[in-house]
């Protein structure tokens, strides 16, 4: 017997309301056809072939999940889709007559709420717990403020707030503060987002903010300072700049997110945003790079390597041996004797994983390894390991990316 209760349930996805049958919404979302590798046995019972499932493809978090869609990549897309699609009937909390206001100013980098932004709203809800309402102060449009926990929304859409406009934004928030007299103002402590804006506000208002707040509760904020060596425990002041994960984001409810009228402002503009500078990913120092495509001794086709790095928009890196051989410049060397890197993703072609090299990538969140040796240390370290010749994978990946780019 290889079927599980869960699988049986999934095969009857419409059995809602039954007290006994437990539903698995995420599995339902994933389900759209015969499970891969599943066949009916002679007795009519479903059988599954674990190998086929295993090979079905990579999933979120680097873990193997079963892809029942039989569409390449579909499971991962579904898995990363917003959670609210699965929760159609969320309770909406209404705070009609708030006793006080708490402002939350999200970064909205690229117009989306980041996880950090959601944490800030979570913190704001904590501080608004006894009858307060959370006002989101947004520059530009934003989605999902209701789920994040905003009762009211002030959306500044004027052109003067677009791009890097910290002075205009600080003036706007200051004006809101003057009008609403909020009990708290929360921002994410990001270097040129909320961290910049919040410190401008603090200077403008002559207040001391709690910065790099590590943990926030209704009665206490723990700020960090002294070069990261000290925590300062205090009652939450008016201005709070939150480190990531200082408070948990909201889940399971939605708030009204009612739009409030936006005041007219006369805003200063001493700084001009000249837009993003064209940066060749290879001019980015390795230590700063976000996505590194790295080559080792197993790479012989250098044009294919440069092509795949360019297609991915990744910064090039290399093992010591590659840099010793002069195939990449020395400042591209990753490892204990080169640069210690912490990109969000490290894609290693043909790198066996000498201890010194692994020391250089200890802080990488995600590692992908392509190597011919199944027993290479890098393969063991990787979240996704592909035992194959880099020379064959690199052009295939380049081609795939080009296709997706032009096809889309």
């Amino acid at each position: 017997m290889s079927t599980t209760p869960r699988l049986r349930n999934m095969r009857r996805p419409r059995l809602e309301g039954s007290g006994r049958v437990r539903r698995d919404p995420r599995a339902e979302r994933l389900y759209c056809g015969e499970p891969a590798g599943e066949t009916l046995s002679a007795r009519g019972l479903p059988r599954r072939d674990p190998r086929a499932w295993y090979a079905a493809g990579p999933q979120a978090n680097g873990r193997v999940r079963i892809d029942r869609s039989q569409r390449p990549g579909s499971a991962s897309v579904a898995a990363s889709a917003p959670l609210r699609a699965a929760e159609p009937a969320l309770k909406t909390v209404v705070i009609a007559e708030p006793a006080f206001w708490v402002l939350a100013v999200p970064d909205l980098d690229d117009g989306r709420l980041s996880a950090h932004d959601r944490d800030v709203f979570g913190g704001a809800r904590l501080l608004a717990a006894d009858g307060g309402a959370v006002v989101a102060v947004c520059f530009g449009p934003a989605e999902g403020l209701d789920l994040a926990g905003a009762d009211r929304v002030l959306q500044f859409d004027a052109a003067v707030f677009a791009g890097y406009a910290p002075e205009a934004r600080a003036a706007a928030v200051a004006a809101v503060i003057a009008t609403l007299d909020p009990r708290h103002v929360l921002l994410p402590d990001t270097p040129i987002g909320g961290g910049d804006l919040g410190r401008r506000l603090a200077a403008q208002l002559g207040e001391t903010a709690a910065v790099r707040v590590q943990k926030l509760s209704a009665g206490e904020a723990i700020a960090r300072g002294n070069g990261g060596r000290s925590d300062y425990h205090m009652a939450p002041p008016r201005l709070l700049l939150l480190a990531p994960e200082a408070a948990d984001p909201l889940g399971g409810v939605r708030h009204e997110a009612l739009a409030l009228p936006v005041p007219e402002l006369d805003t200063p503009t001493r700084l001009l945003d000249r837009g993003l500078l064209a940066i060749d990913p290879n001019s980015v120092p390795l230590a700063e790079a976000d996505f590194i495509c790295s080559a080792g001794n197993g790479v012989h086709d250098w044009s294919a390597f440069h092509a795949v790095a360019a297609a991915l928009g990744a910064t090039e890196g290399g093992s010591r041996m590659v840099c010793d051989a002069g195939l990449l410049p020395r400042h591209r060397q990753v490892g204990a004797s080169g640069t210690l890197v912490d990109p969000r993703c490290y894609l290693a072609f043909g790198i066996a994983g000498a201890p010194q090299h692994l020391q250089g990538i200890t802080r990488c969140e995600r590692v992908i390894a392509v190597n011919t040796d199944l027993h290479a240390e890098m393969v063991k370290r990787a979240d996704l390991a592909i035992v194959q010749d880099a020379q064959r994978v690199m052009p295939a990946l380049t081609r795939l990316i080009e296709e997706k780019r032009h096809g889309a």
């Binding site: 001794n297 010591r320 002069g326 020395r330 004797s337 000498a354």
Partner: protein, 648 residues
């Protein structure tokens, strides 16, 4: 008058040489003052020549490019040519200028000229038909002809005095031609001693008498400790040639351009832009008023042209447009191979370190990752920038007692930077187990142990070295009497603690683990089983153990104790070739055509060895960094521990 002409020719040449020598001396005297015991030096000079120089010449040059280019041939050539030349000179003056001795001295003169001819044949053999690439050309190529002309001229001039032919007049066509030949030979050979290739003869004599390191002569172990900064210099280190002490300027001028240093230099072999011979020649050229390397006729610095370098006695030596490019300065691994090979006893490494001191202390121009390392050393007392308290993290299970907690220990174990490196923690663990096996309970300093200062000192940061050394010495002196000796697996620690701390007031008995382990085997306190694997094993001598400390036997005794017969590399013992780590060169990281450890691993491959034994944490890391396939790398302690455990 007619008979006096040959004698007058020599006399005039000698007078010209004297004038040139005075001018030359003025160049040297532009240098800093130096404390030199001139009388003792002059008295000791002949002994130094006949013993130390002779020994160095007698060694076959490394990597002989042609058959017959042996040390013995070079020594014979010098003895016959130079010995005959000196004797002939005295006799020429006696016979031709003072008409002394009659037929007997004339025949004696002819005999010495014949002796010179025998040496001359070897000189021809050395330069014909082809010349070893390590040798310089230019004026050196004319020497055989000049000696031939000298012998022919004075032989014919002496024939009448010997009674073989009737006296003849120079005032004939043939006579004048002969006279011209003789005059040219005298200029090349006598006057040339003041400026040309033969200046090594005169300057060499003076250099041996006024040598900057008189202690190296007749010493049982190498005189290898770096010298502290002079206390009263306006500049720290050397910027211009005149910042060198005068006898160091003289030392450079004694260089004979034999290129034995070049043949032995690991950086040169790997194509890094360093050639010790040209380095010294550039320093000589820069010691004048308008110096350039246009007259240099030897091998260049790899990857760099010859002819564009310019300098002067009062101009900076180092710079991209100056006499010596910074890459050349920082390519040196301070391995002392050049110093060991040099038959003129020149101290290249001292010059390199003095030049580096100025670059680091005055200019802050240490390249690549070296400044970051120096900054970490200043802030954390470790090269890797981790706290000293983390040095023993790997040994938590070994429960090594702190020296502060024990009354007395036979062995104070100096962990060194290897304690932070996973590869070398294996070696240290093996060493601790071996000591305990032999009944020695080692103690450690723990967080009190600071970096010994080797890297800082070799990178020219004498101030950081001094600061570290003084604090280490204060700690160790605080434990005076509570440890018998300091044991270390790192030859750099051995060198610095054992040989360089005494200048700062730290006198300790420091022993390398190879020495101690050999003692313990020979005393029967360790009983290793004989290795019966039949592996071919070679041993790589660390520079800082062999050439710096003269210890080449203990590691071999350890391996013999395990029953391993060492298959020696072509370059081993005192003439071992560097792994490429020393002198901070892994941090300055000057690019070459190849990596130095790759070159060394080629030497290992030539022996067919499956395993190369090492005795230094840095050699282990460098050699293990060579791409597979290659021989395995294991420290002596690891091999011995395996054998001891097999013997149980």
């Amino acid at each position: 008058m007619n008979a006096l002409i040959p004698g007058l020719l020599v006399l005039a040449s000698l007078l010209a040489l004297a004038a040139l020598a005075v001018a030359r001396a003025a160049r040297w005297r532009a240098g800093r003052a130096a404390a030199v015991d001139a009388v003792a030096g002059l008295l000791a000079m002949p002994g130094r020549y006949l013993h130390d120089v002779h020994d160095a010449v007698l060694r076959d040059p490394v990597g002989r490019a042609k058959a017959g280019d042996t040390g013995r041939a070079a020594a014979r050539m010098h003895m016959l040519t130079a010995g005959g030349f000196i004797a002939a000179t005295a006799l020429i003056l006696a016979v031709h200028l003072f008409a002394l001795g009659g037929v007997v001295l004339a025949w004696l003169l002819l005999a010495f000229l014949a002796l010179m001819s025998a040496g001359l044949l070897r000189l021809y053999a050395r330069r014909k038909p082809e010349v070893s690439p390590r040798l310089s050309r230019g004026g050196f190529d004319r020497l055989p002809y000049a000696f031939t002309a000298f012998i022919v001229f004075f032989a014919i001039a002496t024939l009448p005095a010997a009674g073989l032919i009737a006296p003849f007049s120079w005032a004939s066509l043939g006579g004048l031609a002969l006279l011209a030949l003789g005059a040219w030979a005298c200029i090349e050979l006598y006057v040339g001693m003041g400026y040309g290739p033969l200046k090594h003869a005169l300057n060499g004599v003076l250099h041996l008498a006024f040598h900057p390191r008189p202690a190296r002569f007749g010493a049982t172990t190498p005189d290898s400790a770096l010298q502290p900064l002079p206390a009263t210099a306006e500049r720290l280190g050397v910027e211009q040639p005149r910042d060198f002490a005068w006898n160091r300027l003289l030392a450079f001028d004694a260089c004979v351009q034999c290129g034995r240093c070049e043949a032995a230099c690991p950086a040169f072999a790997a194509g890094l832009p360093l050639n010790p011979k040209k380095l010294i020649q550039d320093l000589v050229a820069a010691s004048g008023t308008h110096g350039s390397d246009l007259g240099y006729s030897g091998s260049p610095y790899p990857q760099r042209p010859v002819g564009s370098a310019h300098g002067a006695i009062d101009k900076p030596i180092i710079g991209s447009g100056a006499m010596i490019h910074p890459d050349t300065l920082w390519a040196c691994t301070t391995c002392r191979a050049c110093v060991y090979e040099c038959p003129m006893m020149i101290e290249h490494v001292d010059a390199v370190v003095d030049l580096r001191r100025f670059q680091t202390l005055e200019l802050g121009a240490t390249p690549n990752k070296a400044p970051a390392v120096l900054e970490e050393l200043k802030a954390t007392d470790t090269v890797c920038g981790r706290p000293t308290s983390a040095r023993l993290d790997w040994a938590a299970d070994l429960r090594l007692p702190l020296l502060a907690e024990v009354e007395h220990t036979e062995a104070l174990l100096w962990i060194g930077e290897g304690g932070f490196d996973m590869r070398n923690q294996r070696t240290l663990r093996a060493l601790v187990k071996l000591l305990r096996e032999a009944g020695i309970e080692p103690a450690v300093l723990g967080a009190e142990e600071l970096d010994c200062g080797d890297v800082a000192r070799r990178l020219g940061d004498e101030k950081t070295f001094e600061a570290l050394a003084r604090r280490n010495i204060a700690t160790l002196n605080g434990y005076a009497g509570r440890f018998a000796r300091i044991v270390t697996a790192d030859p750099h620690v051995l060198q610095v603690l054992g040989r360089e701390y005494p200048a700062l007031g730290g006198y300790y008995s420091v022993v390398h683990h190879s020495t101690l382990l050999a003692e313990l085997i020979e005393a029967g306190r360790l009983k290793p089983a004989a290795d019966d694997s039949g592996r071919r094993v070679t041993f790589h001598d660390p520079c800082y153990l062999g050439r710096y400390n003269g210890e080449v036997s203990a590691p071999r005794r350890v391996l013999k104790g395990i029953g391993i017969k060492v298959v020696e590399m072509n370059r081993s013992g005192m003439r071992s070739s560097c792994c490429g780590w020393g002198g901070g060169s892994t941090f300055t990281d000057v690019p070459g055509k190849r990596r130095i450890p790759d070159v060394r691993m080629d030497h290992v491959r030539e022996t067919g060895a499956e395993l190369v034994a090492v005795a230094c944490p840095n050699c282990a890391v460098m050699l293990e960094g060579v791409v597979q396939p290659r021989a395995d790398v294991a420290d002596l302690a690891e091999l011995l521990l395996a054998a001891v455990e097999a013997g149980k």
